[in-house]
């Protein structure tokens, strides 16, 4: 075999293009086409209003305007609400918006009219000329208002409750009632958002001569968009191609589909017979894509003297915004994944998913896990404080042990399957983390800092992440006669390094040079069966499918080569693209094998002469065997029985300024276990990015809605995404590799992990520095200052003191 690439730090092939500004994104497409039209959307300025009248009469007078659509202009499926992508029996009151608002708008930013013009400038001028009469309705903003339900978002959804759901394993309430110790906690998390560098964007071109629609979209699922576009526009699936060019980040928001513009752009292109483009701007991204994270939690926990969880009862309220296109995925993930590496003897979780007059909520990297991790880890810290035990000790007491896998939690996960952990070694991970961060030496450090008048704190947080959810992903591997290998997989890529990681797998499995492998993702012309990129699933799902497809191609290559070399298949090996008989000089290039695999009538070059009808084959038999196909290809799908569960533990040391309440990160340590690593550099990059995003979510970002439902910080000026200067300069990472038994490569997902424990780990460290409980995140210096005032009487300046949960 060629030198094994799996597990090595191969430099990312995509970076040359990306770092030189040569990425090609949706907005870069068709720019030379003089027929290209541009679009802009009139968005609701009100959080809640009835639309009485829309007057577009001034719009078409404007030079350069080509067309304008409102809901009245939509017909057929386009006039119906957008799909509810993931229905669930508990989602009794699911609602989705229309592509263009019909009678009512339910958040600032909801699409009302769609204008197509010669350029975006004119399109925006036109938008500003549309006059809408609104009847203003009182909005519902924030979870407390949604719960109070003095007003409702939708007339036909009582109490603003879209769904109520409970899961239980054992009898948590009884266990808590009988427990020697109990604690109650109220824990809140605010909204944030993915904020990818590139916003949403779609270009469509209709070819009237062939009746074919081509759509390029900045999406995390090209097959999903294709299905929706075909259904909504009444086209045969075969007439629609959806292609993802380079995508400048997704982080979850681009898995939701179809966005109104993803349908309106193709509709306009078909109607007008000219290509049409929509490129979302930053303000639009803030007010009309999606947010996540806002949840309030009420926790009751009963435990014994060792801190063992006897009963855990969590009730929470999830703010899903104005509509529910993505169903209940986020709160279900919180419900199940808050368990982390622990095994409470009895567990009950229930939630209400609530409507508010704010931007919709769909998964954002971590997708409900950061909230769950926050809840569980805050609970662990509270128990440790209550019992006066080391925080790592209470966690160890509750860990699932390595010999307990597969571990069944007795709950149903987000994919509708049993929540069963496949593998992990949590005690080993914790031991590594303590070592990496210097947990046992921290008190010395604290004392040393205190002697300089400095205040520091340490925190840790553990999580388990279900990754690689189904249903499936596929791959097609084609070895060309040049020996080059072209691979297609249907899920999309947003800069994660899939081209590199997947090529490593192919190079190893097939025995070809890495440079000769080219990966195509997210192009429905190349692979029409696919799901999408989310839930840290690309490596597990497409990586496994690619491996299986490459194995099939290899099988065929060996069969043909064995015949050509007159050797047994078992005696052959493939190295650097050459099949040879082990221990001899006899060999044949894979390219030549590809030539032989495809009996030809016509020779188009020197090599292909070898495959023409007078050169190969037994004249007595059909040129292609009955059970064979021409070409050197392999195609396969990977569909696992359930998710694989990665895990990790983060620790952070922070300094809080005694005067200004500013929070500084002194050390950030990560122990990460995602099974076998395909490319450690890519995994570390994912962790770095996740930690950076987590720092943002914990210390900087929030969605500042006022009571009227206006988002006050809809720009990067006021939505404080951290700069490089706010992110720790070093992140210490250690890996543990506990392979997954569920897939052929033993891998688990790594994409979301870095962001999951942030709120929890920073809350813990700040609490440790300050000596009072931190129960709401994110936290700003101004808020920390307020907390100091609130806790002033009992606060001790150099506190290592325990938090003060309400105990019995």
């Amino acid at each position: 075999m060629t030198t094994k690439l799996f597990g090595t730090k191969v430099a990312r092939v995509e970076d040359q293009r990306f770092l030189r500004g040569q990425g090609r994104y949706v907005d870069d497409l068709l720019t030379d086409d003089p027929r290209l039209l541009h679009s802009a959307v009139l968005r609701s300025p009100h959080a809640h209003a009835r639309i009485l009248d829309i007057d577009v009469s001034d719009v078409l007078d404007l030079e350069g305007v080509v067309a304008v659509w409102t809901w009245d202009d939509l017909t057929g499926p386009m006039a119906e609400p957008l799909p509810l992508l993931i229905p669930h029996p508990a989602l009794t009151h699911g609602r989705t918006q229309y592509a263009l608002a019909r009678d009512e708008v339910n958040y600032v930013g909801e699409a009302i009219a769609f204008v197509v013009a010669v350029d975006r400038y004119v399109a925006e001028d036109a938008v500003s000329r549309i006059r809408v009469d609104y009847e203003y309705l009182e909005p519902v903003v924030g979870i407390p208002a949604a719960r109070a339900a003095q007003r409702t978002v939708h007339d036909d959804v009582p109490d603003n409750v879209g769904a109520r759901m409970t899961q239980e394993n054992g009898d948590a309430r009884a266990a808590i009632a009988d427990a020697p110790h109990t604690i109650t906690l109220e824990l809140d998390i605010e909204r944030s958002a993915c904020t990818p560098m590139e916003g949403r964007g779609t270009v469509a071109r209709w070819d009237p001569d062939t009746s074919r629609l081509t759509v390029w979209s900045s999406t995390q699922t090209s097959t999903g968009v294709r299905g929706c576009v075909a259904a909504k526009l009444g086209l045969d699936l075969a007439k629609v191609d959806v292609i993802t060019p380079d995508v400048g980040g997704g982080f979850g928001v681009k898995i939701n589909h179809p966005w109104p513009e993803e349908l309106l752009v193709p509709l306009a292109a078909m109607t007008l017979g000219r290509p049409v483009k929509f490129t979302e701007d930053r303000r639009e991204h803030f007010i009309s894509s999606a947010h996540e994270r806002a949840q309030q939690h009420h926790v009751e926990v009963g435990f014994d003297d060792d801190g063992r969880l006897l009963g855990l009862n969590v009730e929470f309220w999830h703010d899903h915004g104005a509509y529910t296109p993505y169903g209940l995925i986020v709160p279900i993930i919180t419900s199940t994944q808050l368990l982390g590496p622990y095994k409470p003897l009895n567990y009950r979780v229930s939630f209400e998913s609530l409507y508010t007059n704010t931007v919709i909520v769909t998964p954002y990297r971590g997708a409900g896990r950061p909230q769950g991790c926050f809840v569980m880890e805050r609970t662990m810290d509270a128990i440790a404080a209550y019992l006066g035990k080391d925080r790592t000790e209470v966690r160890s007491t509750n860990f699932i042990q390595p010999d307990e896998f597969p571990y069944e939690h007795g709950l149903i996960f987000q994919d509708g399957r049993e929540l069963t952990y496949d593998s992990g070694d949590y005690p080993a991970s914790l031991a590594k983390l303590k070592e990496l961060v210097g947990w046992d030496e921290f008190e010395d450090f604290r004392a040393e800092m205190a002697s300089q008048g400095r205040r520091v704190g340490i925190g840790l947080a553990c999580y388990v992440e279900g990754t690689g959810v189904g249903p499936y992903e596929g791959a097609h591997v084609h070895i060309e006669t040049s020996g080059k290998v072209k691979v297609a997989t249907g899920l999309t890529t947003q800069g994660q390094g899939h081209q590199t990681a997947f090529a490593q797998i192919v190079a190893d499995t097939l025995g070809v040079r890495f440079e000769n492998v080219e990966i195509t993702t997210g192009d429905t012309r190349k692979m029409p069966y696919a799901v999408g990129t989310f839930a840290s699933r690309a490596a597990v799902m497409s990586g496994s499918a690619i491996h299986l497809a490459a194995l099939r191609a290899k099988e065929k290559a060996l069969r043909i080569a064995a015949e050509a070399l007159e050797a047994a298949e078992d005696d052959l090996e493939i190295k650097d693209g050459v099949v040879s008989v082990k221990g001899t000089d006899a060999s044949i290039d894979l390219g030549t094998v590809a030539v032989l695999s495809n009996p030809l009538r016509y020779a188009f070059d020197e090599a292909s002469k070898a495959a023409t009808q007078f050169s190969v084959g037994d004249p007595g038999k059909p040129p292609v065997d009955e059970d064979d196909e021409p070409g050197l290809e392999g195609k396969d799908f990977y569909s696992p029985e359930r998710s694989t569960f990665a895990n990790g533990m983060h620790a952070v040391i922070v300094e809080t300024d005694p005067d200004t309440a500013e929070i500084t990160i002194l050390k950030y340590a990560v122990v990460h276990d995602c099974g076998h690593l395909i490319n450690p550099m890519i995994v570390e990059g994912q962790i770095h990015g996740g930690v950076a995003q987590g720092v943002g979510g914990a210390l900087y970002e929030r969605m500042a809605y006022d009571e009227s439902g206006q988002l006050l910080n809809a720009s990067f000026m006021d939505f404080l995404m951290p700069y490089v200067t706010e992110v720790p300069t070093t992140i210490d990472i250690d890996h543990l590799e506990t392979p997954s038994p569920l897939n052929p490569l033993g891998i688990k997902g790594a994409g979301e992990a870095g962001v999951i424990p942030s709120a929890a780990v920073f809350a813990a460290a700040i609490e440790d520095a300050e000596g009072f409980p931190i129960t709401a995140m994110p936290i700003s210096p101004s808020e920390l200052f307020d907390l100091r005032l609130a806790h002033a009487p009992e606060a001790t300046p150099t506190a290592a003191a325990a938090p003060a949960p309400t105990g019995t």
């Binding site: 925006e124 500003s128 200004t660 500042a704 910080n713 006021d718 700069y723 700003s780 101004s782 307020d786």
Partner: protein, 288 residues
């Protein structure tokens, strides 16, 4: 996020620019564009005409002599920051400029543009006010010099008439026996400050003859407070004295109470730094 239509003029002489400015009520000057262009793109401003002054001659210089630093209307923040002569003659310039936005923005944004933009959250208007500098303006009607104390009319509002173009700003040199200090707290590196504080201390021998403090982001116009009395009185509280004249407000990043607290934290530190700076300079003068 595309601006509403506007006419665009890029004059190559000052006279041409001034005539155009006088002739079009709806005209706006475009300098570095780092404040104006975002306002246009978000359609928060829709001027009928932009008069781009970037092609005007002779406005790009940073001239330094012993009286002070004269900054042309097209000198970029980065150029002022890079001038070691300017930093020598008036050290507060560099101290404050390093907190103005990020390098890329400083490469385009002009110091004079920032001053006439008159943002109470911006560093340089306050610095001009603290140092008692001035702005030179020109119009078809002639030229005048506006002292900093008369420059700021209200939030984002200067006393320049509509037809006036700022051609330069003057920051006086730091006098013998004087010292300055600057510190600010921002949410992220390079952001507009939650609170920024600059101090100017004049010594008489070793005693403080005058102490003045300038503030960023705690009022709606750049504010300077004379705290000499509070400094000279051993029981005085300069921060409290300053707060009496400030008007910190709540916003999404910080409460008014937190801003007031930061004033209390920063004022003594910056005053001490300015006083040390004054003493250090006095010592150096004696050494040389």
């Amino acid at each position: 996020m595309k601006p509403a239509p506007f006419a665009y003029l890029r004059p190559s002489t000052l006279d041409e620019a001034l005539t155009a400015l006088a002739g079009e009520q709806g005209a706006k000057v475009l300098a570095g564009g780092q404040s104006l262009v975002p306002l246009l793109s978000m359609r928060l401003a829709a001027p009928a005409m932009l008069i781009d002054i970037n092609a005007l001659p002779d406005l790009g210089s940073v001239q330094v002599d012993e009286s002070g630093v004269r900054i042309g209307a097209l000198a970029r923040h980065a150029e002022v920051l890079a001038s070691s002569e300017a930093a020598e003659v008036q050290p507060l310039l560099a101290m404050a400029l390093s907190h103005v936005a990020h390098p890329t923005i400083r490469n385009r944004g002009t110091t004079v543009g920032s001053i006439v933009h008159a943002d109470a959250a911006a560093e340089m208007p306050m610095v001009l006010r603290l140092l008692e500098g001035s702005v030179d303006v020109a119009s078809v009607r002639g030229r005048r010099t506006i002292p900093a104390a008369e420059l700021f009319a209200g939030p984002l509002e200067s006393t320049l008439a509509h037809d006036e173009l700022a051609v330069g700003a003057f920051f006086p040199a730091l006098a013998a026996g004087a010292g300055v200090g600057f510190q600010e707290i921002a949410r992220r590196h390079g952001d507009y400050a939650l609170v920024g504080v600059a101090a100017h201390v004049q010594l008489d021998g070793d005693a403080v003859a005058s102490a003045r403090i300038g503030f960023v982001s705690v009022s709606d116009v750049p504010v300077v407070v004379d705290v000499t009395d509070a400094v000279q009185d051993t029981a005085g509280d300069p921060a409290a004295a300053a707060l009496a004249e400030l008007d910190p407000a709540d916003d999404i990043h910080a409460t008014a109470a937190y801003r007031a607290h930061l004033v209390k934290v920063l004022v003594p530190k910056v005053l001490a730094a300015a006083t040390d700076h004054a003493r250090e300079r006095a010592r150096q003068r004696m050494d040389s």
